[in-house]
Symmetry: C2
Subunit: 273 residues, 2 copies
C-alpha cells in the first residue's frame, strides 16, 4: 500500500486538539474522514505531535497508508478542498512504508508566544498569552538556557501524562524578542517568544516550562530556581501551566533517510522554517 507524509498548518482555536476525542472536532478526525472518502476505506492517520485544544501548528507532520495510488499533488488538493480554512495541508510526499510521523521524529520545535503589554492586541488574542506585568526578559532568557541538555523533566509533566521515562534532550531553549515589532505596530518588546527544540515532549511540558519562566520574569523566583525545579522532579514545584493559545508546533525533524522516496515531493510551499 502506498504510504504518505503530509505537513499541516492549523489555527487550533476552534478544535479539541490534534487527536480524535469522543466529542468535538479534531484535526486528525477531519483528515481521516476526508482520506477515508478518497480511498473508500478507513484511513488511520498518525500525527507527530498530539497538540492540545487551542494549540496551533505551522508544521505538524502526519503519516498514513492508502489502498489506492495517488499523486502527492492530488492528496494536497483533495484535502485542502474539503478542510476548513483553519487547517491547510502545505506539503505531501510518498514515503517508505515503514515511516511513522511520531515514532520516526528526531526532534520537534515548539514556539510559545507571550503578549507582554497592558492591553492585548486584538489580532493576537487567539495566538498569544497576555501577560500584563512587564517581564524581566533577560532573567527569563537566562533561566531558559538552564534547560538545555539532557534532563529528567518530570517536573514539567502534567498529571495524566503517563509514567514512562521523562528524560529528554533539549537542544534549544531560548527566549527571544523579535526585532519585527515595528512592522507589527507593536510596542517595543510586547511580543516575547520562547523557542524550544527537543527530541521529545511530555504532556503540557512546554506550557509548564513557560509558566515557570514567567514566574522568573515576574521576579517571583530567581533564575537558578529553574534548575532546582528540574532537580526536584515534582510538578507542584514548577510554575502554572501557560494557556494553550500561545503554543505553536513549528516543525518536526526526521532523518533524511526515512523521508520521501519520491524524487520530488510535492511541496506546496515550505511554510516550515
Amino acid at each position: 500500500m502506498p504510504h504518505f507524509r503530509i505537513t499541516l498548518a492549523y489555527d487550533g482555536s476552534d478544535f479539541v486538539g490534534w487527536q480524535r476525542q469522543p466529542s468535538g472536532t479534531s484535526i486528525q478526525g477531519l483528515v481521516e474522514e476526508i482520506l477515508a472518502e478518497l480511498d473508500g476505506q478507513p484511513v488511520p492517520v498518525a500525527g507527530a505531535g498530539r497538540t492540545d485544544a487551542g494549540v496551533h501548528a505551522f508544521g505538524q507532520v502526519a503519516s498514513f497508508s492508502l489502498r489506492r495510488s495517488f499523486e502527492s499533488r492530488a492528496i494536497v488538493g483533495a484535502l485542502n478542498a474539503r478542510l476548513p480554512e483553519a487547517v491547510r495541508v502545505v506539503e505531501a510526499a510518498e514515503v517508505e512504508s515503514g515511516f511513522h510521523a511520531r515514532f520516526d521524529a528526531r526532534a520537534k520545535h515548539y514556539r510559545y508566544r507571550i503578549w507582554n503589554s497592558r492591553v492585548m492586541q486584538p489580532q493576537e488574542r487567539r495566538y498569544a498569552w497576555h501577560v500584563t506585568v512587564p517581564l524581566d526578559v533577560p532573567a527569563m532568557a537566562a533561566a531558559a538556557r538552564l534547560l538545555e541538555g539532557r534532563h529528567d523533566l518530570t517536573a514539567f509533566r502534567s498529571a495524566g501524562g503517563g509514567a514512562g521515562r521523562a528524560e529528554r534532550v533539549i537542544s534549544r531553549s531560548e527566549v527571544v524578542v523579535p526585532a519585527a515589532d515595528r512592522l507589527q505596530a507593536a510596542p517595543a518588546g510586547a511580543l516575547v517568544l520562547y523557542e524550544i527544540q527537543a527530541d521529545g515532549f511530555l504532556r503540557h511540558m512546554v506550557r509548564a516550562i513557560v509558566g515557570s519562566l514567567v514566574e522568573v520574569g515576574l521576579g517571583r523566583r530567581p533564575v537558578e530556581w529553574m534548575s532546582d525545579v528540574v532537580r526536584l522532579r515534582d510538578r507542584k514545584q514548577a510554575g502554572p501551566t501557560a494557556p494553550a493559545r500561545g503554543l505553536v508546533l513549528v516543525s518536526v525533524r526526521y532523518d533524511p533517510a526515512v523521508l520521501a522516496v519520491e524524487p520530488q515531493p510535492f511541496l506546496v510551499k515550505n511554510l516550515v522554517s
Copy 2:
C-alpha cells in the same frame, strides 16, 4: 464639557466597520453605547478613519465630549471592561474642546498585508489577502514609489465615494517584505506589505491602489502603467479593489498643539508605531 481623545486597536473581521450602520455591529456604535451609559446622555464619537467592514486598526483615534469629568484612566478601564476582546482602547487623554479626531488629522498611515504563497497560513486568513501566484515585488515597489507626492487620485476613488476634491499628498508609498519571516515560520517572502501615509484618503483608495499594484506584480501591467492610471482619473482604468481583510489603520498623526492638554495622558501602552 471635558473633551477626550482615545486610541483604539481592533480586529475588524466581525464588524460592519467603524461607522454606525442601520444594522450590524460597528465599533463606533459599541463605543458610543458604553460612553452613553457612563455619562448618562448620548455621546457622539468622531473617528479619524472610517474603516470599512473587515478592515482592522492598531491606532484608530476617536474624540468625544462628556458632561461629567473622568480621569483618562477611568475611561480606558470602563471601555475595555465592556468592549468585546476584538476591540481594545490603548490610550485616552483629555484634549482641548476644539479637537476633532478626523478634521484635525494631519496624516494617516495604513498598511496592507498580502500573503503570497500557494497555501494560506491559517493564522493569517483574517488579516491578509491571499495571492497564490508569485508576485514581482521589485516591480510593485517601483510602481508604489510613483504614487509619492501630490496627485489627483480620482482613479482610486470608488463609486459612491463623493465628488469632492480628490487631490491628496502621499508622503509614503512603499512595498516592503519584512525580514521577520523566520519568526513567523513563513516561507521567505510570503508576507508582502504595502505601507502608505497620506494627508487624506478617498473611499477604498488603499484597496484600489493595492489591486493595481498586484496587477503590476502579476506582470499584467508595466511599472509605468501606475502613472498612466493616475493621469487618466478613471476608476475603471485602475485594478480591482483588494479585499478589506488585508487593510490596517496603523496610526494617525496630529499637530502636537492640538493634542493632550493633560500634562501626562494616560497611555496604556503605545501600540502605535
